[in-house]
Symmetry: C3
Subunit: 348 residues, 3 copies
């Protein structure tokens, strides 16, 4: 079921060396892929993170297991790790390196004479690279990608088919972009006069994407208006996310699908934002805060570091739970109130 | 106003035969299209489902009406149906077969030598069909479509321009995909280590789309991570819907625009999900349940079969209405409480 | 940081004449761009709208300021305007006219022989213009755009790369469309029979976009089913907005990102809709009403002119605030209720 473009045969011993793990059992156990316990063949590596999944692991045909010390599974080669899921993710990247998006530069790619294309770059059919754009070494540009005038793409990036970079957008290195993502479109800004006519406010700013960022399918990130929109290193955005003009997103922040961030909001480092969250303009989400799915953060609001918020308007999860608990008991409250209002027998 | 590529002239009698309906009135009434009562010409078929629209039908220039028995409209050819809207939809498909997305295989289509293209396939300008992909008989692939390595498209599918199938995605037959849809991108999965670094979790699973599925514009469906994302037959997804990795959606389920479903959730058969609904990861929505627009279903939640839920967090519509009714009366409750707290005159 | 394709040098005096503003100070002050106060060079124009930003303006290197009368900034050329932000937006459009999306008609554009292309039209690489389509004078069509059969694009439109117009969609003049937008896909309409089978309801209607409309990246607007979807002049839609079949949106209405409007709803003129708002089918939002971000407007609901609504289900902002204020105090209400329920000492 899994489609590996390159199947590399390794051994459990080699994987232990790569991961820097202790190995228990047969170092010569052959491995060639990764899988879930149920789908694994004898050559797949699996992992055990939580005791909850112990039974699944026991029944698996896999012969090589990444698990914490003391997991107590007999008959398999064990790679001992305090963070088995991380080790498994690293093992997967090592055993199954991502296949090429495209090989070489396709004859139909339209590349401006003034564009700079480094060594080892692949560009797919019908991709367009405009004047003065620059593509770093080892980067892959899929079919139908559009790299606008003066845009800069770093090294070893992977742009899946049909990605649009407007002019002068800059990407760091090792950025992954999925199909349909649009970077650098005009922000949504107008000045409305007394007759109600909307004048387009200048959307002339930049958009800078850091290293190791991943951007999901059909996600849109607008350029700054007079300022810069910045996505820092290691940020991961899911599908259909919207990031407006002048937003800053700090390092390693995770944002799930369909979340929208309005203009000039500043998101800190290591923030986690659930799906369908709405963040108004000029908000500040400090480092390591968490916004639960569908939360709504009103314009100008500050969420303090390490705080977890839920609901619309967003408040701390503790307050949300207390308030919501009573909300669910409103019919009961109303009934208790009604009883209190009835004249007491003894007052008759 | 309606743009029919092929105008076919038929009669009311021929339509009655096609639909298997009783005909009352002139079987020779000429028909050539379908319309709303107001926009109909004398050659358009219209329908009457609810008595509410009786006046509109009476005033219409249409000479051929699909209606329930006993609708009592004189002077028109009547096609008697217990389900007039269904009969009308079928009549439309028969009178106005969908026009071709593209005719023939365009000279600019880039089709890998190892791809398999069946008879009667049309492929538009600048479409790309990668190695080992397979296109079933009678399928139409619009301009700028990208059919990834090893992807399989069934028979008589209609892919509008600019659809992306990542490698190894499989579509059943008669699937309709609208422009901008992205199938098979990587799911949003990372393992975060103690330093906060996000390691990309393998996204190597499959994506399988059943027969007769329709997928709206700019909708995204991710491949499985170690498992399979499955959309079963006759599922209909509106625009800008997000379906995460490992999700299963059962037969005939309908999902309105901008709804998002997080990883590993399982949606049953004949489920109806409104617009902008958010479904957390590992939820289970059983057969025939209904989620109202903007509902939020928390991670891990089970919605029982035939249940209708509203709100965030989602609860049964009955509870929602009761709770919300009291919510709207909170200022009144507060006032009643204040009065009770006041010392009673007789205690003075 | 700002990337102007054409740098035009002007003077403060020339700008005052263009804007019809009073000028105070040196009419010969050279200007060549616009900026925020912090990023301005001595050749950039800045503006001051609110006294809050007075300090920023004082510190700026800019030598030319648009400000209200009496702003009292010495040492700069002042352009006096009662609406400085509007004047600034107009100044930006005059100093930095939008650069070309594309120059000339690229050799790889596929243009049907029956298509009509007016003078001064530019069409980018790999764009496709289908039979009987029509492109008005001075319009620019970016790379990978798809202009379907019989579609009409007015004059001086700007279609950024990778826009899809399905067949017979009509655009007015000076329309701006951002990358990934899809106009005219089939609406989400089915008739479900007693066995649960969904029959595709005809989606044969039109889609008409007025003059001066701007449409954000990856936004989708469906064609009518038997009717017409209409977006009137000067409407501005942000990114990832969804507009369903048969919707009408009145002049100058603004709709922020990720909002969805279900079938047949009618939105008036000068309406303002926040981000992530959900509007059910057959709603009516009258002129100048406002829907706050994430509001949910149930099917069939009418919002009266000039009303502002918040929340789900949407209600007037006044009621929302009162109800929500008590919601936040529910734990307190419950506690006060508990105290009232306790037997009073004197009754003992």
């Amino acid at each position: 079921m899994m489609h590996q473009t390159t199947k590399i045969h390794r051994t459990a011993g080699e994987l232990a060396a790569f991961l820097g793990c202790e190995l228990r059992g047969n170092a010569g156990t052959k491995i060639a892929g990764v899988a879930s316990p149920e789908r694994a063949t004898s050559e797949d590596v699996i992992y055990l993170e939580s005791p909850r999944h112990f039974e699944r692991v026991l029944k698996s045909r896999a012969q090589c297991l990444i698990c914490p010390s003391g997991a107590g599974v007999a008959g398999k080669a064990l790679l001992i790790s305090a963070e088995p899921k991380i080790a498994f993710a690293r093992a997967a990247g090592w055993l199954i390196p991502p296949g090429p998006i495209v090989d070489g530069i396709h004859a139909t790619a339209v590349i401006a004479a003034s564009a700079s294309v480094a060594g080892g770059v692949s560009i797919g059919p019908y991709a367009v690279v405009e004047e003065h754009a620059s593509i770093g070494a080892g980067t892959q540009i899929g079919a139908f990608c559009f790299i606008g005038r003066g845009a800069t793409v770093g090294e070893s990036c992977r742009l899946h088919p049909r990605v649009t970079l407007y002019e002068h957008v800059t990407l760091g290195s090792r950025v992954i972009m999925h199909s349909g993502a649009v970077l650098g479109a005009d922000g949504f800004g107008y000045a409305t006069d007394r007759e109600g006519k909307h004048w387009k406010f200048p959307q002339l700013g930049a958009l800078e994407i850091g290293d190791d960022v991943e951007i999901g399918a059909n996600t849109t990130i607008d350029r700054g208006s007079l300022d810069v929109t910045v996505i820092e290193a290691q940020v991961k955005l899911d599908n259909l996310v919207h990031v407006a003009h002048n937003v800053k997103i700090g390092r390693r922040t995770l944002i799930a699908a369909q979340t929208g961030i309005a203009g000039s909001s500043v998101i800190g480092n290591d923030v986690v934002i659930g799906g369908q969250v709405g963040i108004g303009d000029h908000c500040r989400l400090e480092d390591r805060c968490v916004a639960g799915a569908q939360a709504g953060i009103p314009s100008g609001k500050v969420i303090r570091r390490d705080q977890t918020v839920w609901g619309t308007p967003a408040r701390s999860i503790e307050r949300f739970k207390k308030q919501y608990g009573w909300f669910a008991r409103l019919p009961e409250i109303a009934e208790r109130l009604r009883r209190l209002e009835q004249p007491k027998p003894e007052s008759l």
